[in-house]
């Protein structure tokens, strides 16, 4: 099972270590540093690294490497999933998962890690249970603790851990009972030069924030559940009911959780919300290149496209870009060759464009590679797959909760080739 954990920051310093079995020397991380040096980009460090006596399994999140050390055969996905869970927990507890936050709360971090694994076996990884065991630090609580001498470690056996609904703590009480659901969809797409779609798929999630008293039993139904043929559920969802009736029936955890994630693959029609007209050319023999980019809305069902951000890695030979945006601002980093254009909202009447010239190194030959254009965007109040929630009902409790559903579409890995 998981032997040890090392946290390493971007500059290669180990700033925290935790051992669940015997102590493994820090020198084992040298194999990681070697791999890190070999990798051209921070994210190119291979996730599984063999060393003579151990295996190092790492994830990179928030610019921190979480490196787990294992000694025997352990499923790597098990380790990676666990590491992601550690990151999520830190974020949940400290608001952000940064080196500074971890260092400030080092004792809580240590207590958390101790509760999350026992001898390498996962123990309590549900945020509900952890929060019962170890109270998250808040300014108020720290002050109260220092005055009264009380602690942020729970005194009680975490009740939820043994019930049939281990994800929910018991005795939850709210004055305002509310249940909010966010349907968030990300479009991953590759668009080729001519503007036709090579692949397009939608990664969707339904995140929930449920603050309901007692033991509510919820059902959520959809207008078009047939869209969801590839889904992953939170453990609270009753799978049989979904199989039979296509209704989500569950006793929710308390607080924030991801109810469902789904995947609408390319076989179904995936709407592409924007189009890009581009003309990026270099002439042989001249040290100038032309850059011309126009964006326009495509299939948006009448909703406006906001927070558009265009970025592109220009060829290495490009020295500088002298461009003129019709709206928004652009930056070009001459070191990384990264061009970023913060467009903002697309106005269908006046399409945003970015035009101008690029200067190349004098005498350099025409660059071989074609830059890829990366697009980020947001569309409010719409799930691009067309998924719609029909109704939400609550059983088991008497009060009337506030209910709310929000839809949002974002671009995930949305790439346009030129």
């Amino acid at each position: 099972m998981i032997h040890s954990l090392f946290l390493i920051n971007a500059s290669g310093d180990i700033f925290l270590e935790k051992h669940w079995k015997s102590v493994v020397s820090r020198s084992v991380c040298d194999y990681f540093f070697e791999a890190q040096e070999r990798a051209s980009e921070p994210e190119n460090v291979p996730p599984v690294i063999p060393t003579p006596h151990h295996y190092l399994i790492s994830v990179l999140r928030h610019r921190i490497y979480f490196v787990a050390v294992i000694q025997s055969e352990v499923p790597p996905l098990f380790v990676i999933e666990f590491l992601h869970r550690v990151v999520d927990t830190f974020q949940d507890y400290f608001g952000v998962c940064t080196e500074a936050a971890i260092k400030d709360n080092v004792v809580v971090v240590y207590e958390l890690l101790e509760e999350m694994l026992d001898n390498g076996f996962p123990l309590a990884t549900e945020s509900n249970i952890l929060k019962e065991l170890i109270k998250p630090p808040t300014i108020l609580r720290t002050m109260v603790n220092t005055i009264t001498g009380s602690t942020n470690v729970g005194e009680q056996l975490p009740t939820g851990q043994l019930s049939v609904v281990p994800w929910r703590r018991t005795g939850v009480k709210y004055t305002n009972n509310e249940a909010y659901f966010d349907v968030v969809e990300e479009i991953d797409a590759i668009i080729d030069k001519s503007g036709s779609t090579i692949t397009a798929e939608i990664q969707g999630v339904i995140d929930a924030c449920v603050k309901l008293t007692g033991m509510p039993d919820l059902t959520l139904s959809f207008m078009n559940p047939r869209l969801l043929d590839d889904v992953s559920f939170h453990p609270c969802v009753r799978f049989k009911r979904w199989e039979a009736e296509r209704i989500l029936s569950f006793i929710p955890p308390d607080g924030n959780f991801r109810l469902l994630s789904y995947h609408v693959s390319s076989q179904n029609l995936v709407a592409i919300p924007v189009y890009v007209k581009h003309n990026i050319t270099f002439r042989e023999g001249s040290s100038q290149g032309r850059f011309d980019l126009t964006l326009g809305p495509k299939q948006t069902m009448g909703k406006s496209v906001e927070a558009v951000l265009v970025s592109s890695q220009l060829p290495r030979g490009v020295l500088n870009a002298n461009l003129n945006p019709s709206q928004g601002t652009y930056t070009f980093d001459p070191v990384t060759k990264m061009l970023t254009w913060d467009v903002g909202k697309i106005n269908p009447q006046k399409l945003p464009s970015l035009k101008g010239s690029m200067s190349l190194q004098a005498g350099a030959s025409k660059p071989d590679e074609n830059p890829t254009i990366n697009i980020q965007l947001k569309i409010q109040q719409m799930a691009i797959s067309g998924l719609k929630v029909n109704r939400l009902d609550m059983y088991g409790e008497k009060y009337k909760p506030f209910k709310g559903i929000k839809y949002m579409t974002k671009a995930g890995k949305f790439q346009v080739r030129t």
Partner: protein, 973 residues
């Protein structure tokens, strides 16, 4: 000595980053002092803050062990947080302060009786983490109680504690009967307890490969399946991995398990999904293919696999490595999902390369146009490694999908026109392979290729280009000029290019003898006289002699029609693939290596195979499954009746020593031997030639098949270059020296009387005064007299062969037993065996010929002069690449390091240096095999710990396993 060993140690841990002082900067004296005062403060609050500070220092790696007694004093408190913090501290430092840790025992025992189950669980959990022998004794009683606690939270914590205790003291756990209690917990009413019991048992079972710890039967399976639905995600992983080890009785049971596992495919935790995929992939084999459910299941597998690819890149990587296995085994699952493997330009490189690999595996006539368009796109990306692989992929598509070959070739030509140096070179390498697959079809492009001759600077591309010129010399007008231009810098070329150039010029000569006589003379003399590379020289001489004695034969050999190269390359060998499918989701599946390559020490591995379908309908698609299921794993004492092996042995010359005249079998045997020699010669000639051509599309085994008798059994690993290298090493001469009393194991029965018409042979291998002897006891258990004994060995890894005839001159009467010692030499013919130290023997008497196989201890082959110079050792250790290092554990060995060293010396394992670090003795040892292979070892012995760790380094890592077994045998006797 000490200094030398230190140096070695530093070398092992490369780099100057290594000094621990950088991390463990000792705290300033004042700080420790201050903390000490605070810890002993009367104020609770101050105490707690002080413990917190200590923990914080500990987490960043500062040494605060000096505060041990003061921290332990804070343990008796009602404050839960303070208690937890002290426990944290204890776990970290108890090992270094065992006597102090005893002080804490009473509190633990008391806490195990606490009213609050949280405290009971916490106490038993912490006690298990204190890895101090003295404490473990006190742990047994509290643990026993906790295993039967009324609260499931305590029970599940106690279950894990058994695994912890087992890690510290396995014997204790067995003696105390904890394993049985743990097995009972599988039937616990609480799913969490069941999951933890399974997890603990699985971990313990890893170190007891043959114990029946997880005795899976339909009842337990049912309990596990019930718990599966209700336990935590992590528990589900343990249970699924455990289920995967079960072999259902029939297809109906298979199906019902599959049905109950399928819902796990929708779990949010990807590890659960992949473990479920493993169970399904394995149990699917048992389902009849015509069953409706089989098709349904296949359809259900695709979406979760696709979903894994939308997760974080690290998850994607592991998923992709596993999908690579799945598409090889069952391509139908993902054949419509090609697009999800298309590469995004900001994927990490490790994801890109894996996606590319899978794209080629899924390429078919239906999707080839799309795939090619993508690959062409990738070939213009920035990352050089990725671009190269993309270009190669285009070539592989051409070879795989015949209809697309033309498009592929034109795509490659387009890419060559880009004139990007590495693209051109890769393109030429793959075009050569395309020529091999489709001869006489695309030669029109040769002219274009020749234009780029100048820009080729990589050996592989140069060799490929030279091969093309040689192969199509008759169509290239200035072939001689082109080749001549390469010849100018002959000595600066790599061996690959030199060999290729030699062959190409000989081809050219055979095609256009009149104009190129001078050129061929030149290259032959360069190869035979001016080169010190034996391969090149030998090939040069063979061509020379062929050309001078019989040009017609030369033409037949050199310009022979080449077999087409195979379609799909780098497929994983079917048996390995089956084993890996059973290990989906593990490290083995990520590295595509058998799990045995990952298991440390004596932990044995059970090879897993997919079970064939019990019902009808197993199609031709997987012919291997049915037979594989029946083959037993352990090498049997009698040679398995694999036709080829037997055939080889039958042809051995069994001339008895008595003058009764050769038996009739001898003559054909000789003849065959002679033929084999010739065949082998040609074989190696052709083999050599095809090797550079092969590139990653190696055709050499197939080439061999065309000529005479190929070696009877190919080495089990298809890793041609490695085994080639090994053979080279094996050919090195042996040597003889002096020896001291070495350990001799007792005789074992090699050939039972039942299998040999009453002849029983038991024996043992010994090395006496530098001579290897096979000491045998032959017993006649039949009713008639036996006579005319003779013995012969099959070719084996180290060339063991009888140095003389078997001396049994008197006939053996019924019930008589005779001792015979047969001296052995190590100059016999060499063939790699599996396992390496396997020896196949044929014994003949007047009744019949009998075959058996036995394994000799590798120490037989350790030479008396195997003591390496220290400096040489140091340099060699550094020089041998790390991947050649293997580590093992020797358990339950109660010798101290000096005794071990003496004992090993008796087997010609020489200790060169000894070094002591933190109570651990490190012995550096060397040994030398008769064929000149050196094995270097580092043996770690810790006082009081019966488990030794041994690391072996050797240029031929295949021998490591044997050497380890030998260590174990010697040390334990």
């Amino acid at each position: 000595m000490q200094e030398w060993a230190n140096q070695l140690c530093e070398n092992r841990q490369f780099g100057s980053k290594m000094t621990d002082s950088k991390y463990f900067t000792t705290t300033k004296k004042g700080e420790i002092f201050e903390l000490k005062a605070e810890l002993n403060s009367d104020k609770k609050e101050k105490k707690k803050e002080a413990v917190k500070k200590v923990i914080a220092s500990m987490t960043v790696g500062k040494d605060v062990s000096a505060l041990f007694p003061d921290v332990v004093n804070c343990m008796q408190t009602d404050n839960l947080e303070l208690k937890k913090l002290v426990y944290l501290y204890l776990m970290n430092y108890a090992k270094s302060q065992p006597d102090m840790a005893i002080m804490a025992v009473n509190t633990f025992v008391k806490d195990c009786e606490d009213l609050n189950p949280l405290i009971r669980a916490l106490a038993v959990r912490t006690m298990g983490c204190i890895r101090v022998d003295k404490i473990t004794e006190y742990l047994c009683e509290p643990l026993r109680k906790c295993l039967k606690d009324e609260d499931p939270y305590v029970r599940k914590t106690a279950a894990v504690c058994v695994a912890k205790l087992h890690d510290i003291n396995a014997q204790l756990v067995e003696d105390q009967g904890f394993l049985d209690t743990l097995k009972d917990l599988i039937s616990d009413s609480n799913p969490m307890v069941v999951a933890n019991a399974v997890a603990a048992l699985s971990e313990i079972a890893e170190s007891h490969p043959n114990s029946n710890l997880l005795d899976l039967n339909p009842q337990t399976i049912n309990k596990l399946l019930t718990a599966l639905n209700e336990c935590t995600e992590w528990g589900q992983i343990f249970i699924l991995d455990c289920l995967a080890n079960y072999t259902p009785r029939d297809d109906r049971e298979s199906q019902s398990i599959c049905e109950r596992v399928t819902p796990r495919l929708s779990h949010a935790n990807s590890a659960v999904v992949l473990s479920a995929v493993k169970v399904l992939m394995k149990f699917m084999e048992m389902l009849p293919k015509d069953l409706d459910y089989y098709g349904t299941l296949l359809k259900k597998l695709a979406p979760p696999l696709v979903t894994l690819l939308s997760a974080e890149p690290e998850l994607q990587y592991v998923a992709l490595r596993n999908i690579n296995l799945i598409v090889q085994r069952r391509p139908e699952i993902l054949k419509h999902e090609m697009k999800v493997f298309f590469v995004k330009y900001n994927d990490p490189i490790y994801v890109k390369l894996e996606k590319l690999d899978i794209m080629i595996r899924l390429a078919s006539q239906a999707n080839i146009a799309q795939v090619l368009a993508e690959l062409k796109e990738y070939a213009t990306e920035v990352d050089v490694d990725f671009v190269r692989k993309a270009v190669r992929a285009i070539g592989r598509c051409a070879i795989k999908v015949e209809q697309s070959a033309e498009r592929c070739v034109s795509t490659l030509l387009d890419l060559i026109q880009t004139k990007v140096n590495y693209v051109v070179q890769e393109a030429i390498v793959v075009i050569k392979d395309i020529f091999r697959k489709y001869p006489n079809k695309y030669e029109s492009v040769i002219a274009t290729l020749c234009e780029h001759l100048e820009s080729l600077d990589e050996p592989e591309a140069r060799a490929a280009m030279i091969w093309i010129v040689g192969e199509y010399a008759e169509r290239i007008d200035n072939a001689d000029e082109l080749l001549e231009s390469f010849l100018e810098g002959f000595h600066d070329e790599s061996t690959q290019v030199q060999l290729q150039l030699l062959t190409a010029i000989v081809k050219l000569f055979l095609k256009k003898p009149t104009e190129t006589q001078e050129l061929v003379q030149q290259v032959l003399s360069l190869a035979t006289q001016d080169s010190d590379n034996p391969d090149l020289r030998d090939r040069g001489y063979i061509y020379w002699r062929l050309l001078s004695t019989d040009p017609v034969a030369a033409k037949e050999v050199v310009l022979a029609e080449k077999p087409l190269i195979s379609e799909e390359t780098d497929l994983i060998e079917p048996t390995l693939l089956e084993e890996l499918i059973c290990h989906i989701g593990t490290l083995a599946s990520v590295y595509h290596k058998p799990p045995s390559a990952f298991v440390e020490g004596s932990r044995g591995v059970q090879h897993k195979r997919l079970a064939g379908s019990a019902g009808s309908g197993e199609s031709v698609e997987s012919p291997d499954t049915g037979s594989a299921a029946g083959v037993s794993e352990a090498p049997p004492a009698v040679i398995p009746s694999q036709g080829d092996l037997l055939g080889d042995l039958l042809n051995l010359d069994l001339t008895p020593p008595t003058a009764t005249g050769p038996p009739p079998a001898a003559a054909p045997g000789m003849q065959l031997g002679a033929m084999d020699l010739l065949g082998g010669g040609l074989d190696s000639l052709m083999g050599d030639e095809s090797e550079p051509l092969g590139g990653d599309i190696g055709g050499s085994p197939a080439m061999g098949a065309g000529f005479g008798a190929p070696p009877a059994a190919m080495p089990a690993s298809f890793n041609a270059p490695v085994s080639g290298g090994l053979d080279d090493l094996f050919d090195l001469g042996g040597g003889v020296g002096m020896t001291m009393g070495s350990y001799t194991p007792p005789k074992t029965v090699w050939l039972p009387a039942m299998k040999a018409k009453g002849l029983e042979i038991s024996g043992v291998f010994v090395r006496r005064s530098g001579v290897i002897q096979m000491e045998m006891t032959l017993s006649n258990k039949a009713m008639s007299v036996m006579s005319d004994f003779a013995i012969q060995f099959n070719r084996n890894s180290f060339g063991l062969a009888p140095a003389g005839p078997l001396q049994i001159l008197t006939p053996l009467s019924p019930n008589q037993t005779i001792e015979a010692a047969l001296p052995l030499s190590t100059v016999g013919p060499v063939m790699k065996m599996e396992p390496l130290n396997n020896l196949q023997v044929a014994v003949k008497n007047n009744i019949d010929v009998f075959y058996f196989s036995c394994q000799y201890p590798i120490s037989m082959l350790f030479l008396e002069d195997g003591k390496m110079e220290r400096q040489v050792f140091l340099a060699t250790w550094k020089d041998i690449p790390n991947e050649n290092e293997s580590q093992f554990q020797i358990k339950d060995c109660h010798l101290n390091s000096d005794a071990a060293s003496n004992k090993l010396q008796g087997s010609n394992i020489f200790t060169i240096a000894k070094r002591t670090v933190e109570g651990q003795d490190m012995l550096y040892q060397s040994m030398k095999l008769t064929n000149g292979i050196w094995v270097l070892a580092e043996l770690r012995v810790q006082a009081g710990n019966p488990n030794y760790t041994i690391s072996l380094k050797c240029r031929a890592p295949e021998v490591s396993q044997c050497v380890f077994q030998n260590y174990e045998a010697v040390l334990k006797n």
